[in-house]
Symmetry: C2
């Protein structure tokens, strides 16, 4: 059997992970996007709304939709930044903190299961390979020859 | 520095690849989704529209939007299936075939660059690791303990 291309493997594996996280989140009437957003917010100091997009790798429109839904579910609150009144800080509500912890446990469980299955050496190799792929992309050398 | 979780690495790497492909495709007034769709269509025998969704890992709504845009750009044609009149086959136009070849070259270039950089042994390890992760997800054991 011909081996699948690396981009295809990364895409289909990420999609499988997303399906798994969404399935698990749906048991709690939540979604993966919600869990990721909660994990990106500092539970103590809050997080500037402008920092969330880059942190989550999300476009402004999808992010604002996600934040609106989190606010409606009373998982977050928006407050003016005490240092810079023009910007907004996102804080977790108590309920948001509980859901954040649940998301954190799900992510840790999955990653621990992978670590247990793969072993230290292969995991190190996997990290190096991923790093090299990202390096290649950043250097933009692929399509210039 | 704390190591990033594996799901995070897969997500951000796939996003970096998607950005790179979209950037390259934009030089030809195209998108990554277009290129992937063209690559999923058999250039000789055509492909049933119903087979494309699962092949591309796309939801029916996004797929139908992509196919509509490909038809408008005169890259594909829909024809009734000669064997089963109720279903539809998607064929590439001559222009579609040229664009498919260009997409194929881009994918091959990127994957060859990775192979050259990473080496046979690490690549083998990478494939095994990805396979184990997918196996873990399929067995649905992660969240059952």
């Amino acid at each position: 059997m011909e081996k699948k291309t690396i981009d295809h493997l990364l895409r289909s594996t990420w999609q499988a992970i997303a399906r798994m996280y969404n399935e698990e989140a749906s048991k709690y009437d939540s979604t993966m996007a919600t869990g990721f957003a909660l994990l990106s917010i500092d539970p103590k100091k809050g997080t500037p709304s402008t920092a969330l997009g880059p942190k989550m790798g999300m476009e402004a429109t999808s992010l604002s939709r996600t934040l609106k839904s989190l606010e409606e579910k009373k998982l977050i609150e928006r407050k003016p930044n005490p240092i810079d009144g023009r910007s907004v800080l996102i804080y977790l509500t108590d309920r948001g903190k509980v859901n954040r912890d649940a998301s954190r446990v799900a992510v840790l469980k999955f990653n621990q299961a992978i670590k247990d299955e793969i072993g230290e050496e292969s995991l190190e190799n996997f990290h190096n390979t991923i790093e090299k792929i990202n390096h290649l992309i950043k250097n933009k050398k692929i399509f210039s020859f």
